[in-house]
């Protein structure tokens, strides 16, 4: 029986872990508290302003449309996910809770759109936080 060659799989060297810089922690945290601020502290003024505008507009329009602000809960799964989305807006969410803004129940169609606007604003802010982190880590210019 002829000998068959066995190939040893090449071991890929592990990529060196990127060192976490203070900016990599600060930028997403600032971006969570104030949408766009994660870009501002890295001198990305234009991007930060546009992100602040987009997230802020969605959140404010959501409130103006009578949208509901979800509170931390352990009830319905959709309510829990709604809270996770809302909380992504960070400072805007905390401020609106402090000022008791937003409806407590969704009574009409426009309020339903508003509720979705607030959740989407939070999720878009999470995307901008991740972007601020990538810039801080040097993965993006």
């Amino acid at each position: 029986m002829p000998k068959t060659e066995t190939t040893v799989p090449e071991v890929q060297p592990k990529a060196a872990a990127e060192p976490t810089t203070p900016m990599a922690v600060l930028a997403p945290a600032m971006g969570w508290i104030i949408p766009g601020a994660g870009h501002f502290i890295q001198k990305k003024w234009g991007r930060g302003l546009l992100l602040m505008f987009a997230v802020g507009l969605m959140f404010v329009l959501g409130l103006a449309m009578g949208g509901k602000i979800y509170k931390a809960n352990t009830g319905d799964l959709l309510d829990m996910l709604g809270f996770v989305g809302d909380a992504g807006a960070g400072g805007l969410y905390v401020f609106s809770r402090m000022m008791d803004l937003g409806a407590t129940a969704i009574a009409f169609a426009t309020a339903d759109y508003g509720t979705k606007f607030i959740v989407i604003a939070g999720l878009l802010n999470v995307m901008s936080m991740v972007d601020a982190y990538h810039i801080a880590m040097g993965r993006k210019k």
Binding site: T110, F117, M127
Partner: protein, 68 residues
């Protein structure tokens, strides 16, 4: 005027206008976060917006066909 009073009057938007505003804001964020260079960001944002609005019309026509 307090903030709560400011938001006491409800803004009435149609489903279409709400969806277009949502598409506009989402496209800005997508454009900035998903591309590296300024021009690419603009192109990708416009691309996303066009697809959002195109999808909106498509979904509208599909719902109209289902209804009729």
């Amino acid at each position: 005027m307090t903030l709560a009073a400011l938001f006491s009057t409800t803004l009435q938007l149609s489903h279409f206008s709400a969806a277009v505003i949502c598409a506009f804001c989402a496209s800005i964020v997508f454009g900035i976060t998903q591309r590296n260079a300024g021009r690419e960001m603009l192109h990708y944002g416009a691309y996303c917006f066009a697809y959002f609005v195109g999808g909106l019309f498509l979904a509208g026509w599909i719902m109209w066909l289902i209804h009729h």
